[in-house]
Amino acid sequence: MNEPVARRDVFPRIAACGDCALAIEFAEHIDEAVNARVIALATALADCPIAGIEEMVPTYRSLMVLYDPEIVSGRVLRQTLATRLAGLAVGRTPLRRFRVPVLYGGAAGLDLAELAAMKNMTPADLIEMHASADYRVYMIGFAPGFVYLGGVPEALHTPRLPQPRQHIAAGSIGLGGQQASINSVPGPSGWRFLGRTPVRVFDPARPQPFLLRAGDRVRFQPISLEEATRLDVAVAAGEIGMTAEGAL
């Protein structure tokens, strides 16, 4: 018997992704409550593991489970996950809040002026709008430590570039569709960029390579070139360069 392929978009759904992975999809849109359920399921599975699950990858709206089919069959795992899902409680986990310093514009703010013009705003208005929003880390991934943020004000929603750029620096602060980013490693991107942070959200040489995780809250703090230069030096010397605003 074949594993049933999910035929319709009915949620939640559990679907095979090859012979070593299952996806539990809660929805197909961006929604904070949906993301909270994804994280709650990942947390519940971490606290009370199912033998055979090797890795769990939480995303905006789904949890990908990588498993070893020699330890647990996909059919059994699917049933076990369905049972866990039925009893899933979304608890109040303490939120972590961070303020990330951003040097808007300049060499890293590739699209600031054009985006402001597109939106009939001054660059200063756009910066204020971007920096006043409360963002949620929905997902880490794509590249090591890449931070996907939701909570972008609707006025800043922006189509991606038709042609991706080949080199975007680590630390770049981006907008893509309804999503925002803190880029973690250099690489190609079709998103639009407003500036950069001296903070390295990913640094494999640091005892704590990753600074943020799904569920964290982030606000951006505009800083001057002098402050950015000072932070660049501090970060190079091993400092984190951003402040935690404490648990809520």
Binding site: A6, A27, E28, T59, M139, G141, A143, F202, P209
Partner: protein, 323 residues
């Protein structure tokens, strides 16, 4: 130091069996693209199966050994030479200090594995010696090798007699008309039935964009989508989804035109829909495909996928048992 890289080849990296456990942070498994060939090379020099070796793609490196060593090369069909004299692949070889290992032109397959007794000695990063260049992680300084790089090896674990070999029938290659078996997946229902049939009927060709992150294919018909309203956050292209996890082997089709199969250095997520996943048993095979090679995708059931996985494990077990 034991190895001095005289010529690096095209993209030669240090690889072992990878770095599981960090995909949720965007760090992929990495490790050998052809894991069976990597393990076989290690066994031939008395290493553990997952010790660090060199993986070279399309073009072999030129390496001067600064100490006597025991080596073996497996994987693609690429003539191997020591001081210009052609010797056998898939065979334990002794090389002396100051001798140079080099390679002729690739005849079939894509990747060779060069194992040295003891294994390549680079720092273990997050549990593995594998190179992940995008994250500048692991391997030799987190990157592909360059001329002038010097690599050390760890002390050999077991002595292997030169001339030990793996029988030709136990070696695995891409063959002349490779087939990649596929389990239709998460978003299969978003393309029309005709498009689904076309995907499996068409002959595809490996595109030049084929690397450790993923293999792109072209030449088949574009996919037709079932009409729908895009969900909030997904963008208007019907091949877009709200960013999600890409499992290894998953087949994404940006714009519905050219399928990309993600491999060992996969990006962990992104916003393209996936029509299915290449079965785990066929992942090694992808690592031995060359650009322009013709490939077909064949639909299988989960039971067939698991049977193929068992077959692949039995092949590995037979190689292991022969040592």
């Amino acid at each position: 130091m034991a190895l001095e890289i005289l010529k690096p080849g095209l993209a030669t990296t240090v690889q072992d069996l990878g770095r599981p456990g960090y995909y949720h942070l965007g760090i992929p498994l990495s490790g050998g693209m052809d894991r069976l060939a990597l393990a076989a090379a290690n066994l031939l020099v008395g290493n553990d199966e997952g010790d660090a070796v060199l993986e070279a793609v399309f073009l072999g490196p030129e390496i001067r050994f600064t100490t006597d060593a025991v080596i073996a090369v497996t994987g693609a069909d690429m003539p191997l030479k020591i001081d210009g004299v052609e010797l056998s692949t898939w065979t334990t070889l002794a090389i002396k200090a100051d001798q140079v290992l080099s390679f002729g032109f690739l005849k079939a397959g894509a990747r060779i594995y060069i194992a040295v007794a003891g294994g390549i000695d680079v720092p273990v990063v997050l549990g593995s010696r594998s190179t992940y260049p995008l994250g500048a992680l692991g391997g030799h300084q987190g990157r592909t090798l360059k001329a002038g790089d010097a690599l050390a090896t760890l002390p050999p674990k077991r002595a292997m007699a030169p001339g030990s070999t793996i029988a030709p029938e136990r070696r695995r290659g891409p063959g002349t008309s490779p087939v990649l078996r596929v389990l239709p997946g998460l978003y299969w229902h978003r393309i029309t039935a005709e498009a689904g049939n076309g995907f499996f009927d068409d002959t595809w060709k490996v595109a030049p964009e084929a690397d450790r992150i993923g293999y792109r294919f072209r030449g088949g018909r574009p996919l037709e989508f079932v009409p729908r309203e895009p969900p909030f956050g997904a963008g208007s292209d019907p091949s877009n989804i709200v960013d999600s996890c890409y499992p290894y082997g998953s087949i994404q089709v940006p714009g519905g035109t050219e399928p990309i199969v993600l491999h060992r250095d996969a990006v962990s997520g992104g916003g393209y829909f996936m029509i299915g996943t290449v079965i785990s048993a066929d992942m090694d095979l992808i690592g031995q495909l060359q650009p322009n090679q013709k490939v077909r995708f064949v639909k299988v059931t989960m039971d067939e996928a698991l049977a193929a996985r068992k077959d692949a494990q039995a092949t590995a077990a037979r190689i292991r048992a022969s040592f």
